[in-house]
């Protein structure tokens, strides 16, 4: 008898457990929504501003650290097919990236090409700081080297001629637009369309950015795992005064 009761109460307990497990469902009856702009009508929360303050102070110190100096304004607009800032950017990229590529492959990079639109700001005469490096290159683009066939190099040259603006090109290239087409030397050697070339650029442009489609599907691709901005900062730190001039590496005859 006692046994029987025990059993009943056990069943009761279990059924209670099962019942109470099933929670009363709630149904959505109404939904409202709005997007609220964070603007000047809202006051700043003091505790947040206070938390930011020491970071801001350190950041301003870091960002204003002087890395180098320039005796003239460096801009992307002081030439037709080349610029002082574009030449500097392409040449420093080659200089910083080639040792990494050489260590990786025992070969040299032939030349570097970036895009005019990627130069985001100029550097005014005077002290050169971290801020300039960030403004010049706010993106996290990394260097890649692609091996391109002679045909693709011809495509690249055709693109440059059609674009007719000062895309940053490193000094290993000597390109002249002539009446009948173009003359091209790479590293002092006449361009050979049966040869392949190693070109330094960024992951952004390699994936077809700025319609540089000749960079897509290369013979080979090497990721250098080196950010362009880091290279800019490294280079600026290594020189007292930035030197750059127009040298006719890309011109019209």
């Amino acid at each position: 008898m006692l046994h029987y009761f025990k059993r009943i109460s056990l069943i009761f307990c279990i059924s209670l457990l099962v019942l109470s497990c099933k929670k009363e469902p709630y149904i959505i009856t109404k939904i409202t929504a709005k997007t609220i702009a964070i603007d000047t009508t809202i006051a700043a929360e003091n505790s947040i501003t206070k938390t930011i303050a020491p970071y801001k102070k350190q950041l301003l110190k870091e960002i204003n650290t002087v890395l180098s100096y320039t005796s003239k304004n460096l801009v992307r607009t002081d030439g037709d097919l080349e610029s002082s800032l574009g030449n500097l950017l392409a040449d420093l990229s080659y200089q910083k990236a080639n040792p990494i590529f050489k260590k990786m492959t025992q070969q040299n990079i032939d030349f570097a090409l970036f895009n005019y639109g990627g130069i985001r700001a100029g550097i005014n005469k005077g002290k050169v700081t971290n801020k300039h490096a960030f403004e010049l290159m706010p993106f996290e683009n990394r260097y890649v080297v692609v091996e391109l066939s002679g045909e693709k190099i011809e495509e690249l040259i055709t693109y440059l001629i059609q674009e007719n603006i000062a895309h940053p090109l490193s000094k290993q290239v000597q390109l002249t637009i002539t009446k009948n087409g173009f003359e091209l030397q790479i590293n002092g050697q006449k361009f050979n369309r049966n040869k392949s070339y190693h070109v330094l650029t960024t992951d952004y442009l390699q994936s077809g950015g700025d319609r540089m489609n000749f960079f897509k599907n290369p013979l080979k691709k090497y990721n250098l795992d080196y950010k362009m901005r880091d290279a800019i900062v490294d280079y600026f730190k290594s020189v007292d005064t930035l030197q750059s001039k127009l040298d006719g590496r890309f011109k019209k005859n």
């Binding site: 209670l16 457990l17 109470s20 497990c21 099933k22 929670k23 009363e24 469902p25 709630y26 149904i27 959505i28 009856t29 109404k30 939904i31 409202t32 929504a33 709005k34 997007t35 609220i36 702009a37 964070i38 603007d39 000047t40 809202i42 006051a43 700043a44 929360e45 003091n46 505790s47 947040i48 501003t49 938390t51 930011i52 970071y55 801001k56 350190q58 950041l59 870091e62 960002i63 971290n130 960030f134 996290e140 990394r142 992951d203 994936s207 990721n223 795992d225």
Partner: protein
């Protein structure tokens, strides 16, 4: 798995303890109100834009966002604050401090949960891991398999919140990292198909966990006009069921109001995204009633 069992057991025990009060509570016919606040793609925009900025002068800023969120919490304490990823990258605050300040501030704002965006891997998966101690909130991602990485066990597929008796399940979805992030950065993170994973998640959250509200925190992107093969929030919304709200990111889409989408069950649900850089805060209010009190079918969506 163990965690889920634990949760179920805890719920059962609590219910049993309060069994005497059930009939009384059911007479109260209490309507419930849950507020969801959300941001996406804040991209290290700790401070407001400069007054001279060409597009967004004086917009944004975490300190102002804090004031607004606090006001809304006072109005309705049953509020969840969520972020759909790309917390990192975009101002020198990230480059110099690696995301430490972003996580600290979000913790002060009492974020409840976030998912991961592609830029959150910009300092590599170790760089993200290193900042986790500064985040007093959790991350969810159901379609990144972190098993062979440092993030293993630190990122859960979903999290359940109970606010005023309403059970809210939130799961995370991330974008395919290949092609967006250097493989050296995301290491052995495996990307799983968001559609398949969503089917698992909604089954777990709806059927097993019996959530009253299911939210997907997504960094897939709102919609890709030029690429119909890419999965997006709109596609996911149409192809799945039982999600009430997708909070999106990645495409920096400024939606003036949430998009109402018919899901695979022909039910209306919402997809929202509030642009980027902390310029806006999204607010969605859900009003609930007990099933037995609801006589008319369907819900009114006023957006």
């Amino acid at each position: 798995m163990d965690r889920r069992k634990f949760l179920q057991q805890t719920t059962a025990a609590t219910a049993l303890a309060t069994v005497g009060g059930i009939s009384f509570a059911s007479f109260a016919k209490k309507k419930k109100h849950i507020t969801i606040l959300h941001t996406n793609d804040t991209h290290s925009h700790v401070e407001p834009f400069e007054p001279t900025h060409h597009r967004n002068p004086n917009k944004g800023g975490v300190a102002k966002r804090a004031t607004l969120i606090e006001q809304i919490r006072k109005e309705n304490p049953n509020t969840l604050l969520l972020d759909a990823g790309d917390i990192f990258q975009g101002t020198p605050y990230f480059n110099y401090f690696g995301g430490e300040l972003e996580f600290k501030l979000m913790s002060m704002l009492k974020y409840d949960l976030a998912t991961l965006g592609n830029h959150d891997f910009d300092n590599s998966i170790e760089g993200l891991y290193k900042q986790l101690p500064h985040a007093k909130f959790n991350f969810v991602s159901a379609n990144y398999d972190f098993k062979n990485t440092v993030l293993d066990t630190h990122v859960k597929p979903y999290q359940i919140f109970v606010k005023d008796g309403i059970k809210i399940g939130v799961f995370g979805l991330g974008i395919e990292l290949e092609g967006l992030v250097h493989p050296n950065m995301y290491k052995e993170t495996k990307y799983l198909d968001p559609l398949e994973i969503t089917q698992d998640m909604t089954r777990i959250l709806k059927e097993e966990q019996q959530c009253d509200l299911i939210i997907c925190l997504s960094h897939l992107g709102y919609h890709y006009r030029n690429n119909s093969t890419l999965i997006s929030d709109l596609k996911l919304a149409k192809a799945t069921k039982n999600i009430d709200l997708i909070i999106g990111g990645h495409t920096h889409t400024f939606l003036p109001k949430p998009t109402v989408v018919k899901n695979s069950d022909n039910q209306n649900m919402l997809v929202n995204q509030v642009g980027c850089y902390g310029i806006n805060l999204g607010r969605i209010d859900f009003y609930f009633d007990e099933e037995k009190n609801v006589t008319t079918g369907g819900k009114s969506i006023i957006v």
